[in-house]
């Protein structure tokens, strides 16, 4: 197991592909493929929120992340993932200008087609592209990256196997151009210096990822102009 860790001591991450307009029934949608993690996010709204909700003068966000039965190598039963849904909600909340659609709700639904490691960051990045595609007003795109700590070395954008025996992991979702962190979660044992190093590594990875997302949106805009 040790030899694998050394082999993979690299700082680049897997090939990232973004495409908007995957679901035409939705007001905005995006498909993201990073390595073999494949995710589809579709955004509906802003539309009328559920009757039970009280009046609120700022818009509401409703997120739901679910897995397909064949996403994980061992056959799961395709259930919703409550933990990821609430973390997706927290990550996007800071970036969306909520008071641009008062009283209404924006629904963000994500489906993980294939789980190839660091699924939540891919879902968060893909969701922010889908929101942009749906024309929801946002301060900035949200790029999200995670890094695993295996012994001494930091492995960015871990694959499924690396995640299964990582000593610790740090996941950051940030707004690249405003350089603000909307969400940060750390597990495992870290020293403050190590955290600092990992955060810097992730932040510049986020800015690189942000560029790719922006280029994909530009292409879509150009394509729709012709």
């Amino acid at each position: 197991m040790a030899d694998l860790r050394l082999l993979r001591m690299r700082c680049y991450w897997r090939l990232a592909v973004f495409r908007t307009g995957a679901v035409n029934a939705a007001s905005g949608s995006a498909y993201a493929e990073i390595g073999d993690t494949k995710v589809i996010v579709s955004v509906f709204g802003p539309r009328e929120s559920k009757k039970a909700m009280m009046y609120s003068d700022i818009g509401r966000l409703n997120c739901n992340v679910s897995y397909t039965t064949f996403a994980t190598p061992v056959r799961g039963q395709g259930s919703d993932n409550k933990e990821f849904s609430s973390m997706l909600h927290k990550a996007l909340e800071g970036a969306i200008i909520l008071d641009s659609f008062p009283k209404t709700t924006v629904d963000v639904f994500a489906l993980v087609l294939e789980s190839g490691g660091s699924d939540l960051p891919v879902v968060i990045s893909c969701a922010s592209v889908a929101l942009a595609d749906a024309g929801i007003m946002m301060y900035d795109l949200v790029a999200s990256v995670s890094v695993s700590c295996l012994g001494k070395n930091l492995v960015i954008d871990p694959v499924l196997e690396e995640e299964s025996y990582q000593d610790g992991s740090l996941m950051i979702s940030s707004m690249p151009s405003r350089d603000e962190v909307t969400q940060l979660t750390i597990t495992g044992e870290w020293s403050t210096a190590k955290i600092h190093e990992a955060m810097m590594l992730c932040l510049d990875a986020c800015s690189k990822l942000g560029k790719i997302m922006r280029s994909c949106l530009k292409e879509a805009a150009l394509a729709s102009q012709e």
Binding site: D167, G168, S169, R178, T182, W190, T192, I195
Partner: protein, 292 residues
């Protein structure tokens, strides 16, 4: 955010009063920014549990209980026992926790606690070494169910639960299970628990959770629910004795500059030392008077 908003109906004037107070380092109940509300700890509150504790932080009151069951270790980690952690909010804490209302908040608290106390997948940074729960490698181990219950909620639930779980683990008595040597090891061997002696879990490494709530430009510790409703964002850090960080969760919506996060982490680790000592003394006192 929405649950807390509903809980405390604050007028604009009160909001301004709270924010102004924090700016001048004098909070509504007279505390400084980094001082805690009085903490009371009581251990052994649940007779049926193997270890339990009640922690009161001002008006917030939580109960944690540890129950041990015999179970078969999962094949990937034969030498270790299993630990599972679950939090639920009782309706006594407020009408909005009635029925299914409390599901979202308890899920959030459970995930945050698991991240802070159970450490990474390989077990690094966990509150205690699960191998002390193993009885017969690969065949039999203890399965520790850690349950948290919020009885009364007045802000800072995560720290109170963290403290209560730490006290409950210290209070836990693990019954010594000796397996007759010759017993056949394949199916579930019969274990006699009759012997009364028990051992303790090594809880030296259990971290303590400190939540820093950012209101305006300052951070406060142990926020009441009114102050929590004014928070722009919050960082909960779990720090152990060697001042290493065993888990971190940023809650609340607004974005934070990375430098502010690092500064909050250092403040948190500084405050954690003072909280650690206070907690240890309280727990020792509670354990002492429980013996009587």
């Amino acid at each position: 955010m929405s649950v807390r908003e509903w809980m405390v109906g604050l007028s604009a004037g009160e909001k301004h009063f709270i924010q102004g107070g924090i700016a001048q380092d004098l909070r509504a109940d007279g505390r400084k920014r980094l001082t805690y509300r009085p903490i009371y700890v009581e251990t052994g509150v649940i007779p049926q549990a193997d270890g339990s504790a009640k922690v009161k932080m001002g008006a917030t009151e939580v109960i944690a209980s540890v129950k041990l069951d015999l179970a078969r270790p999962n094949p990937s980690q034969p030498g270790k026992g299993k630990v599972s952690l679950f939090v639920s909010c009782s309706a006594t804490a407020g009408p909005m926790f009635e029925g299914r209302g409390s599901e979202e908040l308890s899920a959030e608290l459970s995930v945050a606690l698991q991240r802070c106390l159970l450490g990474g997948k390989s077990g690094a940074g966990a509150a205690f070494d699960p191998s002390c729960l193993s009885i017969v490698d690969g065949k039999l181990c203890w399965d520790a169910y850690i349950d948290g219950l919020v009885v009364s909620a007045d802000g800072n639930l995560l720290d109170a639960l963290g403290a209560a779980i730490k006290a409950a683990l210290i209070n836990t008595r693990v019954p010594v299970a000796n397996v007759p040597a010759g017993a056949s090891l394949d199916e579930d061997p019969d274990v006699d628990l009759s012997s009364q002696e028990t051992t303790r879990i090594d809880t030296s490494g259990v971290p303590v959770i400190v939540t820093l709530t950012k209101v305006g430009r300052h951070y406060i510790v142990d926020a009441t629910s009114e102050e929590e409703s004014q928070m722009s964002s919050a960082v909960s850090v779990s720090i152990n004795k060697e001042r290493r960080i065993c888990g971190l969760t940023k809650r609340g919506g607004a974005g934070l500059d990375p430098s502010i996060i690092l500064d909050m982490i250092s403040v948190a680790s500084h405050v954690s030392e003072q909280l650690m000592n206070k907690l240890d003394s309280e727990i020792a006192a509670a354990e002492a008077d429980e013996q009587m």
